[in-house]
């Protein structure tokens, strides 16, 4: 399972190759195919060639409709400044055919994994752009989400930083699968995806992937996108879209 491709075709290719080497039975992407990165159309063939089953993210929803903004949920003016640049570029560089395909994506997907009812979404089951950070998603709230949406296992992305939670001795699970399109603000350029197995116990493995981030960073610069986006790929530290981070997660980063 992977999330947040953010038009980073190099990272996506590396992740898909890694997943193939581990004999993944199925690959799911939890949305946000564009944003930050260059040449958004390049990720679509990769997803189709690898039969990736995609859930719609807020970015995908906005790009499909050519909406006024990305609906990322930022309230901070600085975040919104960069978000506007990224979004305008992405809409302008996503083909009509790919935008039409984005419009067909489901908002949720459900699968059975052994005895577990797995619910996949982008932000949260109730809101496509809700940020489920580890330090602001308490156990009681997760139990409520699982009960309301009739699931045992919740999978989401949107925040950009992975985490997992086991509830009530294994009766409930929640995993934010992280993102593959940019590093997770840990000072390294690697990105993360998640392997989920049930044999029969549910097991979650976060998988780091190194890729040629310099190729993507140079393409960002060549396209005239903000140098801050390239800097994040090179350094592993987030330079934009920081204000939604809770204090716990913000404290771990450089900015």
């Amino acid at each position: 399972m992977l999330g947040g491709v953010y038009a980073n075709a190099e990272a996506l290719a590396a992740v898909l190759a890694d997943a193939a080497s581990r004999d993944a039975d199925a690959i799911f992407c939890l949305g946000d195919l564009g944003g930050f990165g260059p040449h958004p159309d390049r990720v679509f063939p990769l997803l189709r060639d690898h039969d990736v089953r995609v859930v719609r993210g807020n970015y995908d929803e906005a790009v499909a409709a050519a909406a006024a903004d990305c609906n990322c949920g930022y309230t901070d003016p600085r975040d919104n400044y960069y978000a506007r640049i990224s979004y305008a570029y992405t809409v302008a560089h996503t083909s009509a055919a790919n935008r039409a395909w984005l419009a067909t994506l489901p908002g949720h997907r459900r699968v059975r994994l052994g005895a577990h009812r797995v619910l996949m979404c982008h932000g949260s089951p109730r809101r496509i752009n809700e940020f489920l950070w580890e330090s602001t998603t308490p156990d009681g709230f997760l139990r409520r989400l699982l009960a309301e949406h009739e699931a045992d296992v919740l999978r989401c992305t949107h925040t950009g930083i992975k985490w997992r939670r086991v509830l009530d001795g294994g009766a409930g699970h929640a995993v934010n699968v992280g993102v593959v399109g940019r590093p997770e603000n840990d000072g390294t350029p690697r990105v993360w995806y998640t392997m989920l197995t049930a044999e029969p116990e549910l097991d979650v493995q976060f998988v780091p992937v190194a890729y040629d981030h310099e190729v993507t960073a140079r393409a960002i610069e060549a396209e005239g996108l903000p140098s801050e986006f390239a800097e994040t790929l090179r350094t592993g530290w987030w330079t934009t879209c920081l204000e939604n981070l809770p204090s716990r997660e913000r404290a771990r980063g450089r900015f």
Binding site: G73, D76, S135, T136, A251
Partner: protein
């Protein structure tokens, strides 16, 4: 007059405890709930009532808790209450930053370290420069708040500087960013709230009609997922806490989980600006 429009109740995601009621050490010229140092028109919340609300909110699967007032750090039980809140969920304290001590900042840092959930401290300022701020908040308040911001930052608490946009100038946000950068704050956090026509800035008119809300998703209003607990009842949001028409129950949180009347001019501001009192 037409019927009052309502916001549906969806779920309790945000619990606000108006800990000190309207008791505050400052008397700001535009205060949202006309707080001040005189006998408060809204009494402080007692420890037992606060704990009952926290327990009920926990049972309901609350996502986040906010402690406000008045000035919440004037409440005698704030540290044990905060400790209790932080067992349940991420918790935010909204302070004017003028009653902080080194010992209190140390205690907050210890609570933050001990919790699985984020502790957020929001420090209010009205302007990035001392003179303009102190005209609203009183002499010396800017300096004291800045000292608090530095004390919290030094302990890794990353305070959120919160300002009401009283001037409407386009560079308000940038001015606060520059202030924090000038103070050496490496991770500046700024939240700008719109001016609400309530408290000492009350306006007489303005009410949402059903027509205003036609096609609008009312579940996005914060009162669809928020309740505020005060000593005299439960309210739909912290902005209207204490106002009789906004009271949803006399203290029972469960009884207040019902649609909220959008009767106040401040509801127009929420609808128009998409504002939220939440951190983000």
């Amino acid at each position: 007059m037409s019927a009052v429009a309502h916001a549906p109740f969806v779920a309790l995601s945000s619990l606000w405890l108006v800990l000190t009621g309207t008791l505050c050490n400052l008397r700001c010229t535009h205060c949202l709930n006309a707080s001040g140092p005189d006998e408060p028109w809204l009494a402080p919340l007692d420890d037992a009532a606060a704990r009952r609300a926290i327990a009920e909110a926990e049972r309901l699967g609350v996502r986040e808790i906010y402690l406000t007032g008045g000035e919440p750090f004037l409440h005698r039980e704030i540290l044990p209450l905060l400790e209790r809140c932080l067992v349940v969920a991420s918790t935010t304290v909204l302070t004017n930053g003028t009653v902080m001590t080194e010992a209190l900042a140390d205690a907050l840092a210890a609570l933050a370290r001990a919790s699985r959930w984020s502790l957020e401290i929001r420090v209010s300022l009205d302007a990035a420069d001392a003179e303009a701020n102190d005209r609203v908040r009183g002499a010396g308040t800017w300096q004291r708040a800045v000292k608090t911001i530095q004390a919290l930052d030094a302990r890794g608490l990353l305070p959120i500087v919160t300002a009401t946009d009283i001037t409407g100038e386009p560079d308000t946000y940038e001015r606060f960013r520059a202030l924090l950068s000038g103070l050496g704050i490496a991770k500046p956090r700024v939240k700008i709230l719109p001016m609400f026509p309530v408290g000492r800035a009350a306006a007489a008119d303005g009410r949402l009609s059903e027509g205003d809300l036609d096609g609008f998703d009312r579940t996005t209003l914060q009162c669809a997922e928020t309740r505020a607990i005060t000593a005299d009842g439960v309210y739909a949001c912290p902005i209207l806490a204490g106002l009789p028409e906004a009271r949803l129950s006399d203290g029972d949180l469960g009884a207040a989980l019902r649609p909220a009347p959008l009767y106040h001019a401040a509801c127009v501001t929420c609808h128009r600006t998409g504002a939220t009192c939440r951190n983000a």
